[in-house]
Subunit: 460 residues, 2 copies
Amino acid sequence: MTSPILDKVLGFAEQQREQFEADLAELLRIPSISADSKFQGDIRRAADWLVGHFGDLGLQVELIETAGHPIVYAESPPVPGAPVALVYGHYDVQPPDPLDLWISPPFEPTVRDGNMYARGATDDKGQMLTHVKSVQAWLATEKRLPLQIKFLIEGEEEVGSEHLEGFLKENAEKLACDCVVVSDTSQFARGVPAITYGLRGIAYYEIRLTGPNRDLHSGVFGGAVTNPANALSKILAALIDDKGRIQVPGFYDEVIPLTEAERAEFRSLPFDEVAFRKDLEVEALTGEEGFSTLERRWGRPSLDVNGIWGGYQGEGEKTVLPGKAAAKFSFRLVPGQDPEKITTNLRAMLDRLLPPGIKMELVESHRAPGIVFPFGSETMQAAADAIEQGFGHRPVFIREGGSIPIVSTFAEVLRAEVLLLGWGQNDDNLHSPNEKFSLADFHHGIAASAALWERLATVQ
Amino acid sequence: MTSPILDKVLGFAEQQREQFEADLAELLRIPSISADSKFQGDIRRAADWLVGHFGDLGLQVELIETAGHPIVYAESPPVPGAPVALVYGHYDVQPPDPLDLWISPPFEPTVRDGNMYARGATDDKGQMLTHVKSVQAWLATEKRLPLQIKFLIEGEEEVGSEHLEGFLKENAEKLACDCVVVSDTSQFARGVPAITYGLRGIAYYEIRLTGPNRDLHSGVFGGAVTNPANALSKILAALIDDKGRIQVPGFYDEVIPLTEAERAEFRSLPFDEVAFRKDLEVEALTGEEGFSTLERRWGRPSLDVNGIWGGYQGEGEKTVLPGKAAAKFSFRLVPGQDPEKITTNLRAMLDRLLPPGIKMELVESHRAPGIVFPFGSETMQAAADAIEQGFGHRPVFIREGGSIPIVSTFAEVLRAEVLLLGWGQNDDNLHSPNEKFSLADFHHGIAASAALWERLATVQ
């Protein structure tokens, strides 16, 4: 499957293993913590390090100021007739607390058992750097890339990417591309690399109910005054039936159903449901009738009460009929569903459900549609081939139950297919003490990335 | 309706108005706050004041030590052929905080607009003293009482009457009586005195649900793992239907229904439902279908969620599938219902409602049956006649939606009918700053009490 050109590129990368690891360690030594202003100098040092690195490769590079932390942008020359790939990543990291749980200090990269331990090792310096190193290998051996590559590396991912959407919108032309490559997630399991081709969306609400103007004695008033905590239970219970079907009118009307090919792909995955259940220490799993656990998590909408409160929460008892009760709840949405329409229908339903004597306020706080890229598209197949080459295993196609807001933004603003190619492992401890990245995954990622450029170049 | 003897007794009370008010003021000046050990000396001063007072009347009196504050017990000689009445009251008072809201200091009794303002004025020194003063009037004019009267005045009512039940049980013979007279509540409205002949009971629970062993990301797990906050809403909602009927099996089986006479009595009351609703600032009242607001509050069972919590309650949003959720809820019970049987049936129902993947703990924390004394019994009619004489208005018969645990204890331990004869007003600010007692109500109460002894003496 491999080409003589790619063989040379991969050979170079193989020779440079130690140097590439040394470069990664150098970047990991910079405590570029975006959440803490004390580290503002280090944020800039990390950005400058990247600028220098891209410059050394001969790419055209810019340090772009934002109202927050700077963006590093680099690009190779256009390749007529070939597509354009945009690599997105981030050079900022999570705070390392609690420090006392780290076996080796978070900013002194240390190799143990084939893993490099450091804050940012997998999230996202190590994964991001695989694409920089693959470009380095191509340029060192071939002096050219088979397609144009643009790098957009931001410094605010761990604090909400506040300035990225605006930057994308203002620079859509400069950033124009055919696909976006993001390596900031994980493989499905050890030895099972994965391409994530879909994400669920979200519609998040807070419902606030007010009954009487004060807390009342439940003996004196109970049974005659509508209790907002009783009402809240009724309303939340009515939103979903015992078969896990959400009862908001029209909720499923535009759901794009999972295809038989997708369901077959999920069924083929080495997912150990018993181990999953035992890890959570629950005796059974429940969800929408007629769907498997993976289908429920990835491809079907859901409703969760995220928080609920009202009345007396202390020790012992208080015979109170509370004046107020409230809850936060959210729907996970799948592609096809329109959060705006769902909110409209939800409001109408809640108005009908609201019992007399209760006033309601519904605050909508966050919404994002679900997103899915064509399952098994030509681009995805190219990526699958490249990963098989780099990791020695053909990747599986999976979805993710959560949202990655920036992915929707890329899809919307740049109208590009997004390839979520996770090189990490589920136990890499991202956002936790002892974050690590397997050096094998680092080098496999570089090889897969190098192969990806060649494969993508042929996709029309 | 009045007798020559009673005329003399009432005439004496009329002459002694100023002295009786002065005696009340003297007792009110003692800050007998039972909740605060700094006032232990004052508690004892108040008890001693009563001992002295009962002694001056020629009653046989004892100061009885308990593990807490002492009980004052006094009794007049037995009257062969006549029944025995036990007066229950308390000499301890609530703490007066917040002090800065008092117009005159809480322990400097001050008369304004015909009311005596002081902590304890209505709750319970003023009301309790009406029965002491009526006995004084009888003894001053007739040298005898028409029936035997026993006084049981405790010092721990405001801190839960911890030692009273044991004392009652150990001294049931000494305290033996035909009826218990308690003046520690309110009239139905201004100019509408009332006899409270029934109280609701209670069964109070805390339900704790545990799902996964930790809070989960609602994107990654939502829809596949049973959410305990969702489950809690479902369970609480299932306990009561939209017509306000509690769904625990057998819940209504032993309910003693309101009689047509009781319902007619409630309908006749000057209850302003619009004012009631407006005071609570609710647009409508709800409750069990087929019953009025007063019937719902006094004579029908109810279910209130008293507190509920789980997941994220802070600002903004957190996409969490909580590991735990819990609620406190309670049934108000009416006479006939057995709290123990209800708990058994509730547990069976909750076990059926519990969805797979959730563990439940149900903690029962407080239970008391409802209680009702025979509506319009001979004793009640005697009390109604006496109140009509003392207040110039015939009292109405009402119930109370809350529980007064000590009343059930009297009924159970002494097997006596309890007369709840409230002399206070609903705006007397008990437990609040500027507590007061109308001097008119004080003197009317003394007259009603004096008449009560004569009337009760004739009840067989």
